[in-house]
């Protein structure tokens, strides 16, 4: 079974904890957490350094991205990441939104980015759905 590297970007410690635990139940152990879009972008940008620092966990295959964050929010992250993603080593990363927003316009805005796959509303995340997402990446 292929190892899935996950990056969770969310300012809520509790939400990160819950998602991490749910992933763990599905056998996904390799999880890195970032509390804001800004720190996540820095983390992805320092590719070589982090590749050396986290040989097993970096780069991520999927990013779970919150929308509402204090410094760089989810959409700002998506726009900056879209530019950064032209680099070969980041090109295969997909993003899944992980937000408490149920707004239709947020979903539409996120779906404009072709690398965004799935829009998970916090609290509505089922084990089956998460399993399906993980399986598709394996």
């Amino acid at each position: 079974m292929r190892q899935i590297n996950v990056l969770i970007v969310d300012d809520s410690e509790l939400d990160r904890y819950i998602l991490k635990r749910q992933l763990k139940e599905l056998g996904v152990e390799s999880v890195i957490e970032k509390d804001d879009g800004s720190t996540a972008l820095e983390f992805l940008n320092d590719y070589d350094k982090n590749r050396a620092l986290y040989p097993n966990e970096f780069p991520p295959v999927i990013i779970f991205l919150d929308i509402n964050m204090p410094k760089v929010n989810g959409f700002d992250f998506l726009e900056k990441f879209a530019k950064m993603r032209t680099r070969n080593e980041l090109a295969s990363i997909v993003v899944s939104m992980y937000s408490s927003s149920e707004k239709k316009e947020d979903k539409e805005r996120a779906s404009e980015f072709d690398f965004v796959q799935g829009f998970i509303v916090k609290g509505e995340l089922t084990r089956e759905f998460l399993e399906q997402r993980i399986q598709s990446l394996r």
């Binding site: 300012d11 509790l14 939400d15 904890y17 819950i18 635990r21 749910q22 509390d35 204090p70 408490s100 927003s101 149920e102 707004k103 916090k122 609290g123 509505e124």
Partner: protein, 482 residues
Amino acid sequence: MKISSKLMLIILLTVFEISLTLLSVFEISKGAKFHQLNSLHLKYSGQFSERVLSLDKDSFIEVAALQTLILKIRQQPVDCLQSVNFLNKFIMKQIGTYNAVELCVKDIEDADLALLTIAKFANQSLSQEMLISELKIIAQTFNTNSALFEKPITETVSFVMKNMIPLVVIISLFNILFIIFMSRTITGSIRSAIALLESTNNEKSFAEDISKNVSGELKTLLQVAQKRLANEVLITAINQDLEKSVEQRTESLTRANSELAQFAYRTSHDLKAPLTASKLLTRFIIKDIQAGEIDNAIADTHRIHAQMEKLEDLVVSILSLTEADSLEPHYCDINLDQVMDDIQQGLSASAILSDCLVLRELECPLFSDKTRITQILENLISNSMKYKDQTKHELPYVRVMANELPDTYQLTVADNGVGIPQDRHKEVFHMFKRFHPKLSFGSGLGLAIVKKHVDYLQGKITMNTSKGGTTFVITIPKLNTL
């Protein structure tokens, strides 16, 4: 001078000119008539002389025929005198031709004398011989009268022609010049009015210019036009104001609406989030207990507890926020020390108070709305405690001050906490804004509640914040100054 008066003057002058022309023509034609009458007189007196000369003492005298002829001769001077008016007499007296009138009178007298003589003859009180000699003298007199009459009439007519025609010509020329002059002054005043209208002066000096430079009907015209224009400008301005206020209302309604929608969305979301998280956490706890992972279960239980506290905090805040809108005003003397005691006691129940120093400098009692003042202070103090800066060497503190100024009370809450980021000062009093989510949880409603209460008290709140700490100054007008 009014334009209408100028025009009236032109008309009067023209009427005078025409009258004078007509009068001249009439007088000249009258002269011709006199000549005609005189030639008629000459003709009849010729016939009369002829008849008288053919008479001798034996011939039969036709009395009636003679009388008829004399009456005919008498008729011309009578016509003449009827035609001569006062003006003619005056002129003739002036130029020395009045003897023509006197001749007419004399001629009539001569004719009357002839008739009398014939009447005497008919009465046989006069002999035929005497009659014939008398009539001969009279016939001679008629002829002489006619001859004398011609000269003064010719003189009078030529005087009229010599004087009236040049006068008419001069007056006509003067009239033409006068009309040209008048039309130029009229055009000139219209032009100056136009120039005045075209000049871009302000309204007040324009009114002055009108009264200074324009007169008569043009002045009235300009003043009426100005009034009318000013009215229209006023109406346009009123309409624009109306449109603007409608726009502003619409905008503020739209804003209020979207704020309300946002409020509803955020509250429902923020109420739901801790509940869904707790639901998941309970599932984890059950699993952990089943697996014997007691430490994990305890940690998750603490997490649930924190979520419940968050929930409680949010519900309390929402209640305060709605209460801020519905509170009945209730002013009373406020003992701020008492209020502070209550607030501190309430806050001590939660962990945040712990090591934060509360300093009081309450110089005055307050006469205001106790509930609102309490909520303002409670929110500000609890913020100071929540966002204390533990990296600083000095102890965290919050200083609460109250001063009385002539018209206002001033409340100050100052701390040495972490401050609010520079780029987010504008959002401070908005709902659901949180600047240090890591330091402490909160509803993001505290300062919005404070602002609402300050607004209801018609006060002002200012903030001064830096990394060294934050100071809020609230100024509330005294009730008697409102």
